[in-house]
Every structure is written in C-alpha cells, then in structure tokens.
Assembly symmetry: C2
Homo-oligomer: 141 residues x 2
C-alpha cells in the first residue's frame, strides 16, 4: 500500500504528460469528455462523454461508443440511425482528462440528431442585448 497517491509522486506529472502509458482520468462520475472530429475535413462534429466501458469498446471495436448522460446508458453511436463512426485515431490531451476521436461517419454522414453534419451549427453573433445565435452555413447540407 502506497503512502502517496500516484499524482503526488514527483515524476507522476511528467509521466502523465510525456509518458507512453495511457491512463485516462475519468471524473467523479466516471466519465471523460470526448471531442469527435471528421477525420478528413477536421471539422468538430460533436462533444460527448465516455465511461471506461465505452472507451474500451471504442478501442476494441474501432467503432465509437459513448455514455449517454441523459439516458444513463452505453451508446453505440449510429445504432439506430446508421451514422456509425469508424474510428481513424484516438488522441489524449496533456493531462489525460480529454479525448479526441477522429472518425469517418457512416450512413448519410449527419452526426447531429437535428440532421446537421455537426452539432455546432450555430454561431454567437451580435453584442450586448443584441447577442443571438446565427445559423452557420454548412458544407454538404
């Protein structure tokens, strides 16, 4: 039994940031945030969360799995819509508390449940009281 928690070790920060060990840091709810981008365009498609099982299934199958916080359920993206995400690459950030997935989207290529290619289809526009959301132009829709 160790006296210090792992992150208190002098070399732990360096290992976390520079090492080869993949040690994702899940939050208090057992989740890690994941940014998913289109592997060819680089566009940010969505932000979602994974628990350990979703991450493991993603890595084992090469198909993106997430944890749905609203449904409290493991979620193989595209199961009902056919918009399955084939994983091209999985990246982790410096302190290993965020993931980046580069994917190819199957089916009609629309990632968002609203029918857009990306969930980020609105841009904040205007100033002060005139601030509002403007629908951004999308490629391919």
């Amino acid at each position: 039994m160790s006296i210090s928690p792992p992150l208190a070790r002098p070399d732990a920060k360096r290992e976390l940031e520079e090492g080869e060990a993949f040690t994702p840091r899940f939050d208090a709810n057992g989740l890690i945030v994941c940014v998913t981008t289109d592997a060819s365009s680089g566009d940010v498609l969505m932000v979602a969360y994974m628990n350990a099982e979703a991450l493991e299934r993603t890595l084992a199958t090469g198909i993106a799995h997430y944890w749905s916080r609203s449904r409290n359920a493991l979620w193989r993206k595209g199961d009902t819509s056919g918009r399955v995400q084939r994983v091209i690459g999985v990246y982790v950030d410096c302190d290993q508390d965020a993931l980046l997935l580069k994917v190819e989207v199957g089916g009609d290529g629309k990632t968002c449940h609203t029918g857009r290619r990306s969930c980020f289809y609105r841009q904040v526009a205007g100033k002060g009281a005139g601030r509002r959301l403007a629908h951004a132009r999308e490629n391919g829709t």
Copy 2:
C-alpha cells in the same frame, strides 16, 4: 411563477436546438466545456471549461478566458506566456451544453503548456496489453 421548469415546456427543446437565443447550459459546478480550435487549420488545440464570467469576458473582449479547475480561478489564456487567443468565432452545440471557439493563437503559437501547438500530441496505439501512447507528429514544431 411557472409550474413547469423551462425544459418541460413542449417548445423548449425546439427553442434550445433551433432558436436564436443563446442560453448556455452550465453544469452543476457552473461550468461549460469548451473545445478550442485553430481558426485557420481547424486543428483541435485544447479542451477547457468556462464559467459564466469567463464566457462573458470572452464575448465582450474577443480574447479567450477560461475557468481553471485546478487553480479555481478565472484564466485569461496567454496572460503569462503571451499565447493569447484572439477569438474568431464562438459556436454552441445543439443542446447548448458545449462551446466551440475558433481562435488565432498569439506569441509563439504554442497552446499547450508542454510547448506543443496542441494539447492532443499523443495517439493511442497498439492493442490489448500492448496499448500505449505514441507521440504524434506535429506541424510547425
């Protein structure tokens, strides 16, 4: 005083997803996740969090502000390093619980405190027991 909370209204989901009102949904800790990308290359640079004040300052000044969860402090990115992020565009996702910032990075252009242009400099490689992090090749470094 309303009987139903706003999200229970039949039109609330549609307004949240399709409307022009910017109503960011902060979590139980008062934070919203933010993905920051390089406005010209589209590369994902970092994932961070904003509280209401950080978001307001970002929108008011055009310079990215975040909330540091480790330091529990408002954080004007680049204040000490000179790597200030000039905001080109702010986007919100379908259910308004994630932000996307497109920025130009000042100074030497390195976003990560480790000296990389992006915090996502390692890729998960290998299978099973051989799984490890491989340092990804970076442009411009």
